[in-house]
């Protein structure tokens, strides 16, 4: 009589649902998962070590590349950590801009998540609908920073530049006629604030569109309800944050509980789930997109009414203008020092965390008083979520593993760092 053994299946790293480079070793009894063992490290880029060898400002760009679908939020935590060590507060307008872009980033991230999650479960149309809206938000990134993804827009002491007065427009080409160009540019006639305002006005209807495809769909519900249940107690014990924790019914959101920047002045709600399954987490994230649209609207209104500086007027931190630099010796020295040596940060240790789209994204920064960090540690929310993989998929089927990976919203840039 031959011995019956479980089948071991290598899921990834080259797998369409591995969300990058996840390697899962699954021990399966038929289609049922007995044990799931996530292997990480295939996207390790030593971000933390690299940051130890560079002036503070030069690491901002690396932060974008951690969680590469919510770029500015990563920057935000890092920049906030430096500001706390320095003991400076950016101007109010910069804080509003940061909050606005944090929420734009949240929408960007959740759209990417929704599309990928839908695609994992087989609903491929949602993916393309989501990307249609993502495109507009990417254009906002491009308008303020010049790049569509890795913006490097937040700086210690504020943001790189004020919002542009004119939204970039599509140019005529041999592939697009004048009429098409005019239609594409119709909401790009004013400033970026007008464009964002227009986006926020039509975005809830877009979310409704995604929801018609999924929320009440019987197949979608069969695939997500009661899959990967995490109780509130376990969620807290496992170190869950963000929508993963709120999906389990724990009302925890750093924007409300430890308000940073101007979140205390803004009006928004925290959605929480009930059952802690994939469906609840889906609903929480969809509602978060609507709440983000609300926050963005409030920021747009404030920013319209209140012009002002977006960067501290301290040339130890922020570069002087080109004109000043050419005409003024001291400014030239400031400029040279800032771009070669950077600035020295008082010795100390600080932890700054933001409510990242995926959860609590924290930066622990230890400075010994030099112009480089002594140690930088990133607290990536996805790492804690992925650690719960085994617990969440045990006893489920192979198809549910895909649903659980999707619901975790893992991005390997931040997990492997």
């Amino acid at each position: 009589m031959p011995e019956i053994r479980n089948m071991t299946l290598n899921f990834g790293p080259q797998h369409p649902a591995a969300h990058g480079v996840l390697r899962l070793v699954l021990e399966m009894d038929g289609e049922v998962i007995e044990r799931a063992d996530p292997h990480i490290g295939l996207l390790h880029r030593a971000t933390e070590k690299l940051a130890e060898n560079k002036p503070f400002n030069q690491s901002i760009g690396y932060m974008d590349r951690l969680d590469y679908v919510s770029m500015m939020c990563n920057e935000h935590a890092y920049v906030m950590a430096i500001e706390r060590l320095l003991g400076v507060t950016p101007p109010l307008r910069a804080q509003y801009i940061r909050v606005m872009f944090d929420e734009i980033t949240r929408v960007l991230n959740h759209l990417m998540w929704l599309g990928a999650h839908g695609l994992d479960i087989g609903a491929m149309t949602v993916f393309l609908y989501c990307f249609r809206e993502r495109e507009d938000l990417m254009d906002c990134y491009e308008a303020v920073s010049g790049t569509r993804m890795h913006a490097t827009y937040y700086r210690p002491g504020g943001v790189y530049r004020d919002l542009p007065e004119r939204m970039p427009q599509y140019q005529p080409s041999k592939w697009r006629g004048d009429k098409e160009i005019a239609a594409l540019n119709s909401n790009r006639q004013g400033s970026i604030l007008d464009f964002v305002d227009d986006f926020v006005a039509r975005f809830p209807a877009c979310v409704d569109e995604y929801e018609t495809l999924l929320t009440d769909n019987r197949i979608w519900k069969q695939r997500t309800v009661d899959i990967g249940i995490v109780t509130p107690e376990r969620a807290l014990a496992l170190g869950f944050t963000g929508p993963m924790l709120r999906g389990s019914g724990v009302e925890w959101d750093l924007r409300k509980k430890q308000p940073y920047e101007v979140y205390a002045d803004l009006d928004f709600d925290i959605p929480v789930g009930v059952n802690g399954d994939c469906y609840d987490r889906y609903l929480v994230r969809v509602e978060e997109m609507r709440q983000s649209a609300r926050i963005i609207k409030q920021c747009v209104d404030w920013l319209r009414a209140n012009p002002g500086p977006v960067m501290l007027d301290d040339h130890k931190l922020s570069p002087p203008s080109r004109g000043e630099m050419k005409g003024d010796m001291e400014s030239l020295i400031h400029h040279f020092k800032l771009f070669t040596e950077g600035y020295c940060v008082p010795a100390g240790e600080v932890y700054a965390a933001v409510e990242h789209p995926k959860g609590e994204f924290g930066i622990l920064l230890i400075s010994d008083g030099a112009n480089k960090p002594y140690r930088l540690k990133v607290r990536a929310p996805g790492f804690a979520h992925l650690s719960a993989m085994n617990e969440m998929v045990q006893g489920h089927m192979l198809a549910d593993v895909v649903a659980v990976i999707g619901t975790m919203d893992v991005v390997f840039g931040e997990i492997d760092r």
Partner: protein, 368 residues
């Protein structure tokens, strides 16, 4: 037309002439079918593309005519796949590995032998047509199982196992749905099944057999492994399922089989439930020259109904998420099977007691 051909080939011995004529007829069915299959892939990409606010393929022109951008795509795809190396994985069973795509494709094509395109247009007008169809559509799954087994890959193996279980459960629901048709029509001959529906759009079987109609079509979607029942190749779970190890022409044959099956199932649904080649409103302006021909019976109605179902296949794919493997089983066994059984009992009662409006005249010989 057959007599004309016999006269033309009168210099040959009769059996040889018959073989030649049958081969010619087969070609007449297969060539348009293969072209339709090729262009169905393009149609799918275009239709789903427009549903997803994008263009679909529009670069490959047709013999350099810019206006027909995209129409050359299937030819280019076929050419590319033909040129590719056939890779046989280590440890694979070579004979079975190469045999599987053929086993998958052959039944999908052979089933067309009994499908009536028009009142006289059918390759073989056999009386056990329905049984033949049932047998051949079940055979297709052997290609998938053999492919999954011969590939010596865990993903392919999982796909094959899923496929086997799925086909077994849906074959039963499908079979019972066809029993309903058989009872209502009183014949196994597909031509006679269509004749039994003669009348107008309201006398077609879709109305009296409505649940069976839905179940037959949905089971057909499941049989062809199309979304939302595409667990055997579920891209995000088992990558490509049974054909994960295939490249080049082997892969292309599986695709041909899948699309040929789509067309077949659509055609069969049209024959069984929507009156095949019959016009929905035959008496409409019958005296007029063009309109009368259009509203008369003819192959164009068959093609039109078939296209309708093909479109539904594509629409499903763009709309629905994928079922989980055990949920498909549940749907097949616990929902479809009971409904079909209940409806067969119901329809048999209607037929036996000749209850109007549908069963008061026809099908007397079966019930007696």
């Amino acid at each position: 037309m057959t007599e004309f051909l016999y006269n033309l080939l009168s210099f040959l011995p009769t059996p040889l002439a018959t073989v030649l004529i049958v081969l010619l007829k087969i070609l007449l069915i297969l060539l348009p079918l293969m072209v339709s299959v090729a262009y169905l892939t393009l149609l799918e990409r275009k239709v789903i593309g427009y549903m997803q606010v994008r263009m679909g393929p529009n670069r490959v022109t047709f013999f350099g005519i810019k206006f027909l951008g995209g129409l050359g795509q299937p030819i280019a795809d076929a050419f590319k796949l033909l040129m590719k190396e056939i890779v046989i994985p280590n440890g694979a069973d070579k004979v079975l590995f190469l045999l599987a795509p053929i086993v998958a494709l052959a039944p999908a094509l052979a089933a067309w032998a009994v499908v009536p395109f028009g009142s006289e247009i059918v390759l073989t007008n056999i009386n056990a047509g329905l049984l033949y169809i049932l047998a051949l559509t079940s055979l297709g799954v052997y290609g998938i199982i053999i492919a999954g087994w011969a590939s010596n890959s865990k993903y392919a193996f999982l796909g094959a196992m899923r496929s086997a279980a799925q086909i077994v459960s849906y074959e039963i629901a499908m079979g019972f749905a066809l029993v309903g048709v058989l009872v209502a029509a009183g014949s196994l001959n597909l031509g006679e099944i269509v004749e039994a529906q003669r009348g107008n759009v309201l006398t077609w079987f879709w109305l009296p057999l409505f649940p069976l109609f839905l179940i037959y079509f949905i089971s057909g979607v499941a049989e062809t492994n199309r979304a939302p029942f595409d667990v055997t190749e579920g891209e995000s779970e088992i990558v490509a399922g049974f054909h994960v190890e295939y490249a080049g022409m082997g892969f292309a044959l599986f695709f041909l089989a899948e699309y040929a099956n789509i067309i077949l199932i659509s055609g069969l649904t049209a024959v069984m439930f929507l009156g095949g080649w019959m016009s929905p409103w035959p008496a409409f302006m019958a005296a007029w020259p063009v309109v009368g021909t259009f509203f008369g019976d003819g192959i164009h109605w068959f093609v039109f109904k078939l296209s309708l179902f093909v479109f539904l296949f594509l629409w499903f794919r763009a709309t629905f998420p994928r079922y989980r493997y055990d949920q498909i089983m549940r749907l097949g066994w616990k929902v479809f099977l009971p409904i079909t059984i209940v409806w067969i009992v119901l329809i048999s009662t209607l037929v036996v007691y000749k209850i109007p409006p549908w069963f008061d005249t026809a099908t007397t010989e079966v019930t007696s």
